[in-house]
């Protein structure tokens, strides 16, 4: 481990700048004009992005063995043998992450300036957004588990705040609550994981835990630790069975969905697992669990996306399924590929969301793809950029998504087996289909707009320019990891290699070039198939009723899909209702009845005595005398007996 020197000692500025921006907008945002607010917000993030690029630059200059820089700010929680300092860790993984996070969030900030321009709580929005970026950067820069947890909870909180940003909408409030509580459920396991790590290692530093993992942990313990941490990841990255919050989270303003629920926060789970990879490695059980969960998620959400009609929800489900792909990548031992996919997906999906935002914006908050169409002519910039994004997402050769996805596919073929690979190929086809179903419905075909839309809003340049930049990234982003199969150097995985112990994982070095190429061809074909099917259904005239007929014939399946496989309903019945029932029971029956009644009863008894006892006091002298005599007799009797 290397002490931070030179430029690296300024590392803390990367998260600090967004924080500063956030504080400014929090304290003064209501006083200053929107312009100042946006300058401060975007400026702070921009500086952070620039700084991280500089860091990247000088980081690449370092020799590989020195690419592990820690910067300890101060000791946060010292208690006996436990101590959790605030320390930042810069290694290839976090380097890549901060660059991506700061860059993407800068673009989205700029976009938001245009998108939110008419919102009255402009400052509040940018306060939340900057705060989110701060926590996200802290998360990826964390040097120990607890700091990571700060960022982890922080981004969750900001996501909650931003989802329920439109506070007057009950649905938004509900979605925010749901998002927070569901992810908190995952965090519960994460906390346990952290404590278990401490109990095992007597330390929570990444620098001390991971190197010693293989000697400290017994296989069983390793499984426990890994699974607990993975629990956190499942919650945050919306994996089955905790995926239900993400689609609802689309209540948030679209840029927020782009930033938090596509590019950055939801990928934190992937980052976490990648970060803890040395522990996961020790437990095949954990690895296969990760893979299986990922696969389930990928398939389920992809299928749901096939039939959904809400433009943002389609993208949300697609996000979930892509995250599933990343977890598969991790599960089959290709963490670098997973991170690679994380990056490309971030670009592409951010692009798609922003494009969707532009569409929604254009059609006056219209979200249903059935009431769109023929936008090509109206908002060309959006059209072209969206096309790039869709292609990249579908994994058309040459674009970013292609390389990363195929890296994972290849790894899963070699380590996971043919069946896994097949399912993923089919899923890739689904992906291509729903992406272009969305695309065609929105931009091509005839107008199906809502009558009240007489003319479309044209996005301001602050909105289109980020789109274009992202489009470029989505297009060329893949070339950081051209596989060896295609004669590339796969720089990304070699760059990340020091983070992931060179155990038995085989991304990059595939068994043979031929096999690699074959696999790519097949997956590309399935993608093209999906696209052409979508084209056949939604663009070629006269075929629009085919999907209708399909829907009638397979109505059962359709309902299942359109209801998201009934997850929400089941949860409502099984958990929420039960919980409320129990709570009511304990309150009514136990607290106010049993416990309270005992007290009331006691008081009543005593006060009742207060009513009765004085009644002996009849006011009659002879009665009193009688009492005295009785008393005398009793006493004499007592003395006589004892």
């Amino acid at each position: 481990m290397v002490e931070a020197t030179g430029l690296f000692s300024k590392l803390w500025l990367v998260p600090a700048l967004p924080l500063a921006g956030a504080l400014f907008n929090c304290l003064l945002g209501r006083q200053v004009s929107n312009f100042v607010v946006s300058i401060v917000a975007c400026g702070s993030i921009g500086l952070a992005a620039a700084l991280s690029l500089l860091l990247f630059n000088s980081f690449l200059k370092l020799p590989v063995e020195q690419r592990h820089i820690e910067l300890c700010m101060y000791n946060w929680i010292p208690s006996g043998d436990f101590s959790a300092p605030i320390d930042l860790l810069l290694d290839p993984l976090s380097m890549v992450m901060i660059t991506m996070v700061s860059g993407v969030s800068f673009l989205i900030h700029v976009y938001s300036v245009g998108y939110m321009s008419r919102d009255e709580s402009f400052a509040r929005y940018f306060f939340y957004l900057n705060l989110f970026v701060f926590f996200m950067l802290l998360l990826v820069l964390a040097g120990n588990f607890l700091v990571l947890y700060i960022g982890w909870e922080g981004v969750g909180t900001c996501s909650y705040l931003l989802i329920s940003f439109l506070y007057h909408k009950q649905s938004a409030a509900r979605a925010g609550l749901k998002a927070f509580v569901v992810t908190r459920f995952g965090d519960f396991f994460f906390v346990l994981g952290i404590m278990l790590v401490f109990v095992q290692f007597k330390s929570i530093y990444f620098g001390e835990v991971f190197p010693r993992a293989h000697e400290v942990l017994t296989p069983v313990m390793a499984t426990w630790v890994a699974l607990l941490i993975f629990g956190g990841a499942v919650g945050k990255s919306a994996q089955v069975p905790l995926h239900t919050w993400l689609p609802d989270a689309m209540e948030a303003p679209t840029p927020v969905s782009a930033l938090i629920h596509a590019a950055t926060m939801v990928t934190a789970g992937v980052y976490l697992v990648a970060r803890c990879y040395p522990i996961f490695q020790l437990s095949p059980t954990a690895m296969s669990t990760v893979a299986v969960i990922g696969l389930l998620t990928a398939v389920i959400s992809a299928t749901i996306a096939l039939v959904n009609n809400d433009i943002k929800r389609i993208l949300a489900y697609s996000t979930v399924s892509q995250l599933g792909h990343m977890f598969i990548g991790l599960g089959v031992g290709a963490p670098a590929a997973a991170i690679f996919h994380l990056l490309t997906h971030a670009f592409a999906k951010a692009l798609l969301f922003l494009g969707a935002g532009a569409v929604i914006h254009a059609l006056h908050e219209e979200m249903d793809i059935r009431r769109m169409g023929a936008l090509k002519g109206h908002i060309p910039a959006t059209f072209w950029t969206f096309l790039v994004g869709a292609l990249a997402m579908a994994g058309i050769p040459g674009l970013a998504g292609f390389f990363s996805k195929d890296a994972i596919l290849e790894a899963s073929f070699t380590n996971g087996g043919v069946l896994l690979w097949l399912i993923m190929v089919v899923t890739a086809g689904f992906t291509a289909f729903y992406c272009f179903r969305l695309f065609f419905n929105a931009f091509l075909g005839e107008k199906r707009w809502d009558p009240h839309v007489e003319e479309v809003h044209h996005p301001a340049p602050v909105m289109t320019i980020p789109l274009m930049l992202l489009a470029v990234l989505a297009a060329v982003g893949g070339y950081m990891g051209v596989p060896h199969a295609l004669g590339g150097a796969d720089r990304i995985s070699s760059f990340l290699a020091p983070v992931f112990p060179p155990a038995h994982h085989t991304d990059g070095v595939s068994s043979s070039r031929l096999l690699g190429i074959v696999l790519m061809a097949v997956s590309s074909l399935s993608a093209l198939g999906g696209i052409s099917l979508a084209y056949f259904f939604y663009v070629m005239p006269g075929n629009r009723e085919i999907p209708e007929r399909l829907r009638q014939t397979f109505s059962g399946v359709y309902d299942a899909l359109s209801n998201g496989w009934y997850f929400d309903k089941v949860y409502q019945v099984v958990f929420v209702d039960r919980f409320m029932g129990a709570a009511n029971f304990f309150w009514q029956a136990v607290d106010t009845s049993v416990l309270d009644m005992t007290v009331r009863g006691l008081a009543g008894l005593i006060l009742g005595g207060g009513e009765i006892v004085p009644r002996l006091q009849t006011g009659l002298v002879r009665w009193y005398a009688l009492f005295m005599v009785a008393g005398a007799v009793v006493i004499m009797g007592y003395l006589y007996i004892f």
Binding site: P614, G619, V621, W623, M628, G631, A632, M636, L639, F642
Partner: protein, 492 residues
């Protein structure tokens, strides 16, 4: 056979004599100058002289053996206490007597006679002396209770008191007779030696005798089940006299019981400790429970004083030095609290003695609503008394209870102590309840009301209130005195 008249050391009994003298003097003053203020002055002067005289004996009790009177530290302690009680009673009576048209000329001397009775009772060393002084005390109390001649409740209280009282003293007398018969003597000291030498079982005659004496004495201290008279008489009697009843006469009898039961009868304590245990519990519980919902404040305090007798008994049955100290301490405290409390009620009386609210005496609890804002002084003092009676810390009552329960715990009567503390928890309800009522925030249109009570009376009350707090914070001096008195008692 010849009668030997015991030599009486005049010097040692001067305080008592002074009190007697001035009582008579006061009567004469009343005859010649018809002003009750003169009588009042005479009595007060007399009491002051007596106080000085007995303070001169303070500490050094004259150690001398008489079959009639013992004059020792114990007596002196109580003499001082009783004289103080008498003074306070007079002080709080002054405005009350004038407001309620009581015949002060008879009233003040009677208070002195009662005091004399108490003093003699404490120092009496044989059953005869005891009986006589007890009767002196009781009879003057009978008359005092009835002294508010134009109020029926006062008269009814008097008749009830005298009927039940005389009935009780009948029991007492017969008990004395039986004890005398069983032991053949009426002198405590002889009796002690005889009972000490008692071989074999206790003769039934003695048992019955003790039982009957317990009836008689229990009546005077209003111990359950001989308490029935107390609430009625307390309610009917003129308020300062209620104070005297609940403090002076009760404490005097308690002091006597201490002397009698912890010296001669200690020999047969196995006989009566058990029953006293039961009676203590009964007194505490019944007193507190009955006080809970009382609408009449005087009556409420009457029940609470029954409960306090229970507390005293708790310490008494430990029969330990610690217990004795606790009892003396607590009776001193209780004297201050009780007098102050009834003093406040008395000083809230308006001229023209009808008993409806606002006009005349404040008796019903409703009359006390928001009193803290209309009559701040009395309300404040009364609250201090209530807190002290409830045994809230930093008041005398807490220290007293601490000693009482401490004695019980020390002697192993933990169960009894637990019952006692639970009782005082219950008692909080009515003490604090009254207090809460007194400070209930007045409504927007609370009727204005000018303060009542003479300045002199308020000053006295103020002194009492301060004393309660002072003793609660720094009781050490009093504790020293108490220890001296108890050593004197056990030295016999």
């Amino acid at each position: 056979m010849e009668i030997t008249f015991p030599a009486v050391n005049i010097d040692s009994t001067v305080p008592q004599l002074i009190v007697a003298l001035f009582a008579i003097l006061a009567l004469l003053v009343e005859v010649f100058s018809r002003s009750s203020r003169m009588v009042f002055a005479t009595c007060l002067v007399g009491l002051h002289i007596a106080l000085l005289r007995s303070l001169m004996q303070w500490g050094r009790g004259i150690p001398y053996e008489s079959s009639l009177l013992a004059v020792d530290g114990y007596t002196t302690f109580f003499n001082v206490l009783f004289i103080l009680i008498a003074m306070i009673t007079l002080a709080i009576s002054l405005s009350y007597v004038e407001n309620t048209r009581v015949d002060g000329g008879k009233y003040y001397p009677l208070v002195l006679f009662a005091t004399l009775g108490m003093m003699l009772l404490v120092s009496s060393m044989d059953l005869l002396m005891m009986f006589l002084s007890l009767e002196l005390l009781s009879i003057s109390m009978y008359m005092l209770v009835g002294s508010q001649r134009d109020k029926w409740v006062s008269t009814e209280a008097a008749i009830k008191y005298i009927l039940t009282g005389a009935f009780a003293s009948g029991f007492l007398l017969f008990g004395i007779a039986l004890v005398y018969g069983a032991t053949g003597t009426i002198s405590f000291s002889k009796m002690e030696s005889i009972l000490g030498g008692l071989t074999g079982g206790v003769p039934p005659m003695l048992q019955i005798g003790i039982a009957l004496m317990m009836v008689g004495l229990g009546f005077k201290i209003a111990m359950v089940p001989f308490h029935m008279w107390a609430p009625d008489v307390y309610e009917g009697a003129p308020t300062p006299i209620t104070g005297l009843l609940s403090t002076g006469s009760k404490i005097a009898v308690v002091a006597l019981i201490l002397r009698l039961f912890s010296n001669p009868f200690i020999q047969v304590s196995s006989q009566w400790v058990g029953i006293l245990w039961v009676l203590a519990v009964l007194s505490m519980t019944l007193g507190n429970v009955a006080a809970l919902l009382q609408k009449n404040v005087k009556r409420m305090l009457a029940y609470s004083s029954i409960a306090h007798v229970g507390y005293l008994l708790v310490a008494f049955i430990t029969l330990s030095t610690r217990g004795m100290e606790a009892i003396l301490l607590y009776s001193a405290f209780y004297a201050v609290m009780g007098l102050a409390a009834f003093g406040c009620i008395a000083s809230l009386t308006r001229a023209g003695g009808s008993t409806t609210a606002g006009e005349g005496e404040r008796l019903k609890a409703e009359d006390y609503t928001s009193l803290g804002y209309t009559q701040p002084v009395q309300a404040a003092i009364l609250s201090i008394c209530l807190l002290s009676l409830a045994g809230i810390p930093l008041t005398a009552g807490f220290i007293g209870k601490l000693y009482l329960f401490g004695a019980a715990v020390n002697a192993g009567f933990v169960g009894l102590a637990v019952i006692a503390v639970l009782n005082s928890a219950v008692s909080l309800y009515y003490y604090l309840g009254l207090m809460l009522r007194m400070y209930a925030l007045p409504g927007r249109f609370a009727p204005a009301e000018e303060p009542v009570g003479s300045l002199f009376g308020k000053l006295v009350l103020l002194v009492l209130g301060v004393t309660i707090i002072a003793l609660g914070i720094y009781p050490t001096p009093l504790i020293g005195a108490v220890k001296g008195a108890v050593t004197a008692l056990s030295a016999l």
